[in-house]
C-alpha cells in the first residue's frame, strides 16, 4: 500500500532521513521506533506530503503522494495539535471530518458510541472547545478523529505519549481490536517499546535517519529492542 523509494530529506547540510526501500502492506500494524531526532516525524510528514523530499518518493497504491491527491481518501492521520481545530467542539470536529469522508452525522454519532469508554465522559457533551481540553483529551480527539470513516491507512505519531495509564491500555486494546477486525493498515510511532511490541506485528527501527531494523514481532522482540537501545547508549558514550 505504502511504498517508500530512495527517500531522503536533507536540511541545509544535515541528512535527517535516508531510506532506500520500505513497503507497508495492507492490513499490517507497523510500529516505528527510534530516539528523538531519528526521523520518525519527518518520515510521516513525507508520507503525508507535508514536506518535500530531497530525493525519492512515497507512493500510496502506486500513486506518488506529491502528484496525486487520491491518497487523501485513504488516509486518516493525527500527528500533532496542528491537526486539531481549536475553536470547534469535539462533536463539530468529528462531524467536519465525517463530512469530508462521506459520513453523515448519524453515521458519526453511531461510530462515536464505540468510544464512550475511551472518552471517559470528558469529550462528548463536555461543553468545551478543543483548545480548552487537557493535552491528553486533545490527543483522544485527534486519535479518534483519524479513525472516522474507517480509512484504509491510519497514521498516528506517538499516540501513547501524554495519555494517562488507563487510557494507554484502552488505546492499546482499541488498536488491537481494530487491526484484528478490519484490514486497515496502522502506522504508529512511539517511544514506548513495551506498548509497541504489544500492539504491532512488525517493528521498524530508525536511528539517525536510517533504517536499522525491520522485524516481525515475536516474544523476544521487546528484549531485543531494549538491548539495541542500551547498546546505542554505550556506543555513544565510548
Amino acid at each position: 500500500m505504502i511504498t517508500i523509494n530512495n527517500l531522503s530529506k536533507v536540511y541545509e547540510t544535515k541528512k535527517v532521513l535516508s531510506i532506500e526501500n520500505l513497503d507497508f502492506h495492507k492490513g499490517q500494524t507497523i510500529g516505528l521506533v527510534g530516539n528523538n531526532g531519528a526521523g520518525k516525524t519527518t518520515l510521516f510528514s513525507l508520507i503525508l506530503d507535508l514536506i518535500e523530499p530531497t530525493s525519492g518518493y512515497v507512493s500510496i497504491d502506486q500513486e506518488k503522494v506529491n502528484q496525486s491527491e487520491n491518497w487523501k481518501n485513504k488516509v486518516g492521520a493525527f500527528i500533532d495539535e496542528t491537526f486539531l481545530i481549536g475553536y470547534l467542539t469535539p462533536e463539530e470536529y468529528f462531524y467536519f471530518l465525517g463530512e469530508l469522508r462521506g459520513q453523515s452525522k448519524a453515521n458519526v454519532d453511531e461510530f462515536l458510541k464505540n468510544f464512550n469508554d475511551f472518552f471517559n465522559g470528558e469529550i462528548l457533551n463536555a461543553k468545551k472547545y478543543i483548545r480548552d481540553l487537557s493535552k491528553g483529551n486533545m490527543k483522544k480527539v485527534g486519535i479518534i478523529g483519524a479513525l472516522i470513516g474507517t480509512p484504509a491507512i491510519i497514521i498516528l505519531d506517538e499516540p501513547f505519549a501524554n495519555l494517562d495509564p488507563s487510557t494507554q491500555i484502552k488505546l492499546k486494546n482499541l488498536i488491537r481490536d481494530w487491526s484484528q477486525n478490519s484490514d486497515s493498515t496502522f502506522l504508529i510511532s512511539s517511544h514506548d517499546l513495551a506498548h509497541t511490541t504489544e500492539v504491532c506485528e512488525r517493528i521498524v527501527v530508525i536511528n539517525k535517519g536510517e533504517l536499522v531494523r525491520d522485524i516481525q514481532t515475536s516474544p523476544e522482540t521487546l528484549r531485543d529492542l531494549e538491548q539495541y537501545f542500551a547498546d546505542q547508549v554505550l556506543v555513544n558514550t565510548l
Partner: protein, 487 residues
C-alpha cells in the same frame, strides 16, 4: 533585571520566524509613528493659534472645553488598540524573580506603548508655546502636567478595564451622547470641562490632586495585577462554555455549507477573527473622510472610499485566507478538502458582507445620492472582481494568524509582499480610473453601469478564477506549511 528583560525582548523579535516581515512592518510602523509625531507637533501649534488667530478667544479655556472628551476618547482608543503585556510572563513565574519585579515590569511595559508617550509630542510643545506667549509659568506647568498625568491614569484605567468590553462601549456611547447634548447646548459638558481645567491654571498647587490620583491608580493597578497573577485568573485566556452549534440551513449545502459554518464559528469564537470582523465594520464610516478635505470630493477618490466602505470585510478577511486556518493547515492539507468548495465558502462570506455594506451605506445618501451611487458602483466591483482578487492576494500571504491572540491586530499591517501591492492595481486603480473616466464623459449612471459590467464579467469568470487559485494553493503548499508553523 530590566536590562535582562530588554535583552529577551530583542531576542524574541530577531528570532521570530516572520522576522523579515516583522522588520518591514516595524519600519513602516516607525515611519508612521514619526509622521504622527510631526503631526502632533503641528496639532500643538494649531490648538493654540487656531483659537487665538481665527476665533479670537483665549486658547487655554478653549482647549480646556475639549479636554474631558479628549481623555475619554483616549481611553476608548487605547482599549481597542493598545496591547496588553500579559503574554510571555508565564516562564518567569517560577524563576527566582520577585513577583513585585514582574508586576512592575508589566506596568512599565504599558508605558512604553505609543499611546502613552506619543501624546507628549503634543503637550510639551504646547507647554513651550504657552510659556512663549507669556502665560504664567506655574499655571502652565500645572495645566499641562494635569493633562499628562491624567493620560497616565488612563493607562492604569485601561489595564483595570481589560476584558470588560461592555463598560467601554457604554463609556463610548455616553461620550457620543454627551457630545450631541453639548453641540445642541442642552447639557454642556464642555463648560464643566473648561471650568475644571482652568482651575489648574489658576491655582497651580491643585496639581497635587492628579498626582495623588496617579499614585492611587498605580497602587490599585499593582494590587489588581498581583492579585490576578495566576494562571487561572489574569494570565491565561478565560475558558468559555463550549456550545455545539451550526446554522441549520447551511447544512443543506454539503461541504460548502460546512465550511461556511466553520468560518462563522471561527469568527464567533476566536479573538483574532472576531476583532478583525468588528474592525471591518468600522470601514463603513470611512466615507466620512470625505469631509476632511476637498481632495476626497473627486470622483476617483469617492470611488476609492466606496471600495473601502463596501469592502471592509472583503479586505480584512479576504487577505487572511488561508492564513486564518494557519494553525491547522496540516490538517487541511491531509484531508480530502475540495479546495474549490473551500474558496467558494470564503467567497460567499465576503460577498454577503459586501452586499450588507451596500445596504447599510444608504446612510451616505443623506450626503448626496451621487455619493451613494458611487459607493454602490464600488460595491458591485467589489462583489464581482475584488472578491476574487483578494483571495488570490491571500494565497500569497504567508503570515500565520494566532486565532487566540488578544486580537488587537488592527494596528498591525501584515501584508507588504510585492505581489499584494501589484494586486492593488486591478483592485483599486483600475476601477477608480474606469469610474472617473466614464463619469467625466458620460455621467454618473453610465459610470455605475460600467463598474457593474466589470463586476458582472468578474462574476461570470469566477469558476476559472477559482481554478487558478486552487492551482496556486497546490504550488505554494510546502512553503505555506513551513511559514505557518512559525510563530
Amino acid at each position: 533585571m530590566l536590562q535582562r528583560f530588554i535583552k529577551l525582548e530583542f531576542k524574541s523579535f530577531f528570532r521570530s520566524s516572520s522576522l523579515a516581515t516583522n522588520i518591514i512592518v516595524k519600519i513602516f510602523q516607525l515611519l508612521g509613528m514619526l509622521y504622527l509625531l510631526m503631526m502632533f507637533v503641528f496639532v500643538a501649534f494649531g490648538a493654540f493659534y487656531f483659537p487665538k488667530k481665527e476665533l479670537h478667544v483665549d486658547p487655554m479655556p478653549f482647549i480646556s472645553r475639549f479636554l474631558i472628551y479628549w481623555l475619554v476618547a483616549d481611553l476608548f482608543l487605547r482599549y481597542f488598540f493598545q496591547q496588553m503585556p500579559t503574554q510571555n510572563i508565564k516562564p518567569f513565574l517560577t524563576m527566582n524573580i520577585k513577583k513585585n519585579t514582574l508586576v512592575n515590569y508589566m506596568i512599565s511595559k504599558t508605558f512604553s506603548s505609543f499611546f502613552s508617550w506619543g501624546g507628549l509630542f503634543i503637550y510639551i510643545p504646547l507647554l513651550g508655546i504657552l510659556l512663549y506667549n507669556g502665560y504664567s509659568i506655574e499655571g502652565s506647568f500645572s495645566w499641562i502636567f494635569t493633562i499628562i498625568i491624567l493620560i497616565f491614569c488612563n493607562n492604569f484605567l485601561n489595564v483595570l478595564l481589560n476584558g470588560k468590553d461592555i463598560v467601554v462601549w457604554i463609556v463610548g456611547a455616553v461620550l457620543v451622547l454627551a457630545a450631541g447634548l453639548d453641540y445642541y447646548k442642552i447639557i454642556s459638558l464642555s463648560s464643566i470641562s473648561e471650568l475644571l481645567f482652568m482651575k489648574f491654571y489658576q491655582h497651580w498647587w491643585l496639581i497635587i490632586v492628579p498626582i495623588l490620583l496617579m499614585i492611587v491608580g498605580f497602587m490599585i493597578t499593582k494590587k489588581y495585577i498581583a492579585g490576578n497573577f495566576y494562571l487561572d485568573k489574569g494570565l491565561e485566556m478565560k475558558q468559555e462554555v463550549g456550545k455545539t452549534e451550526s446554522i441549520q440551513f447551511l447544512n443543506h449545502y454539503g461541504v460548502l455549507g460546512t465550511f461556511i459554518n466553520n468560518d462563522i464559528r471561527m469568527i464567533k469564537r476566536s479573538k483574532a477573527a472576531k476583532s478583525i470582523t468588528m474592525g471591518s465594520f468600522l470601514f463603513l464610516f470611512y466615507g466620512l473622510l470625505m469631509f476632511s478635505s476637498p481632495i476626497y470630493q473627486t470622483p476617483y477618490m469617492e470611488l476609492f472610499m466606496g471600495l473601502f466602505v463596501t469592502g471592509g470585510f472583503l479586505f480584512m478577511f479576504g487577505q487572511r485566507v488561508p492564513s486564518f486556518d494557519s494553525s491547522y493547515y496540516p490538517l487541511m492539507m491531509t484531508l480530502n478538502v475540495p479546495y474549490k468548495e473551500y474558496l467558494k465558502a470564503k467567497w460567499w462570506m465576503i460577498v454577503s458582507a459586501v452586499a450588507v455594506s451596500m445596504v447599510l451605506a444608504i446612510g451616505y445618501a443623506f450626503v448626496s445620492w451621487d455619493l451613494y451611487f458611487t459607493f454602490l458602483a464600488a460595491g458591485l466591483y467589489n462583489v464581482g472582481v475584488n472578491s476574487q482578487i483578494v483571495l488570490l492576494s491571500g494565497a500569497y500571504n504567508k503570515n500565520p494568524v494566532d486565532l487566540n491572540a488578544r486580537g488587537k491586530t488592527l494596528g498591525k499591517k501584515n501584508n507588504f509582499s510585492f505581489k499584494s501591492i501589484i494586486l492593488m492595481l486591478p483592485q483599486m486603480v483600475l476601477p477608480m480610473a474606469v469610474f472617473a473616466g466614464t463619469k467625466y464623459m458620460f455621467g454618473t449612471t453610465a459610470a455605475v453601469a460600467s463598474l457593474g459590467v466589470l463586476g458582472l464579467i468578474g462574476f461570470l469568470l469566477r469558476e476559472k478564477f477559482f481554478d487558478f487559485i486552487v492551482k496556486l494553493y497546490k504550488k505554494e503548499k510546502y512553503s505555506t506549511i513551513k511559514a505557518f508553523k512559525g510563530n
